[in-house]
Symmetry: C2
Subunit: 199 residues, 2 copies
């Protein structure tokens, strides 16, 4: 323990660097096991269609008491189902990278041009359609699957009010069996090559 503190002082509180220093000194540190749990919440999963789609999501709150409450667990279940059904790519708008956003805007811009829109209207249209994009790909912006008049963020806000604690969706992963396997693209490419070759 003293070694840890020394290493932390030596590295001015940088945990990752401190672990490296300790390991270099031959002091056994289970680097990947060092995580101290600082926050509360649960990890919830939902498997759909007998294993064809699966979701895992971490939702944080402030106390273990709330983490174990029925309402909080129900919220986690709803969010996991939302992710299975509505396929978000990000938790919130902030997670969409600048690059991704620009790529999307460029598509929408060309789309507007191809529709013959007046140049002075194009940027306005792009901004409008970006909102639609966000509500497609950002979990918190999506219409809630059980009540599409509300956004998912509104459901979370309701839980915050009821339970009296900060609640946030931290991260999620959605696996769909076989998605993105190279084979898929290979098959398509093959088909196209045949067409090009006139077969």
């Amino acid at each position: 323990m003293m070694d840890c503190k020394k290493a932390l002082v030596e590295t001015q509180g940088n945990l990752d660097k401190a672990i490296i220093v300790l390991r270099e000194k031959g002091i056994a540190v289970a680097a990947k096991k060092s995580g101290r749990i600082a926050s509360e919440g649960i990890v919830h999963s939902y498997i759909h269609m007998g294993g064809k789609i699966g979701v895992i999501v971490e939702i944080n709150c402030e106390t273990d008491f709330v983490a174990k409450s029925e309402q909080f667990v129900d919220l986690a279940k709803d969010i996991a189902m939302q992710i299975v059904a509505a396929k978000p790519l990000y938790v919130n708008v902030d997670e969409v990278t600048e690059e991704e956003l620009n790529k999307e805007k460029e598509i929408l811009r060309k789309q507007a041009i191809n529709e013959g829109k007046k140049p002075e209207l194009i940027e306005k249209m792009v901004e409008g359609r970006i909102k639609k994009y966000y509500s497609d790909v950002c979990l918190l912006e999506q219409p809630f699957i059980k009540d599409s008049s509300k956004k998912v963020s509104a459901i979370i806000n309701e839980a915050i009010l009821k339970l009296g604690e900060k609640i946030s969706v931290r991260r999620f992963v959605r696996y769909e069996m076989g998605e993105g396997l190279e084979k898929r693209v290979d098959n398509l490419a093959e088909e196209v090559n045949k067409q090009i070759a006139g077969k």
Copy 2:
């Protein structure tokens, strides 16, 4: 459908580019829903300690028949438990990046130097200890939790022989509640700063 084929021909079979072309033309394409399922298998999850740790894993095989078999599902369960208990970071050795590997070797090299090893022995020691590193962080190299005399890869090979199909672990994610939250490092840094300030 014809539009899709045209777009694919136009982009020489590049699916991602084809989707962009289609969308620019205003043809409705649910880009993120376009994944055609090419392979078989299951997505399996395991939640430990009432939601403190969760794992999701995709395991592929060749036919739906095998995917639904009891032996295959049991294998998936074992692998998910393995990931919960033994905390791998990668599926296999190939996934460890050059950068990560060099970082690890550098630590082991300094460790050997600090232990006063002879210079001519150091590289040999590093190579030896890298194997230990792999068996720590790569799922397939880990000792199987239910029988540590076997590697996880051996368990999979046994299933391949029994079921007569190619079986592979494609990807996994392991969430531990609260791990890596900024707060943790902030707290440590604060503690260290206090020590430095002599409080």
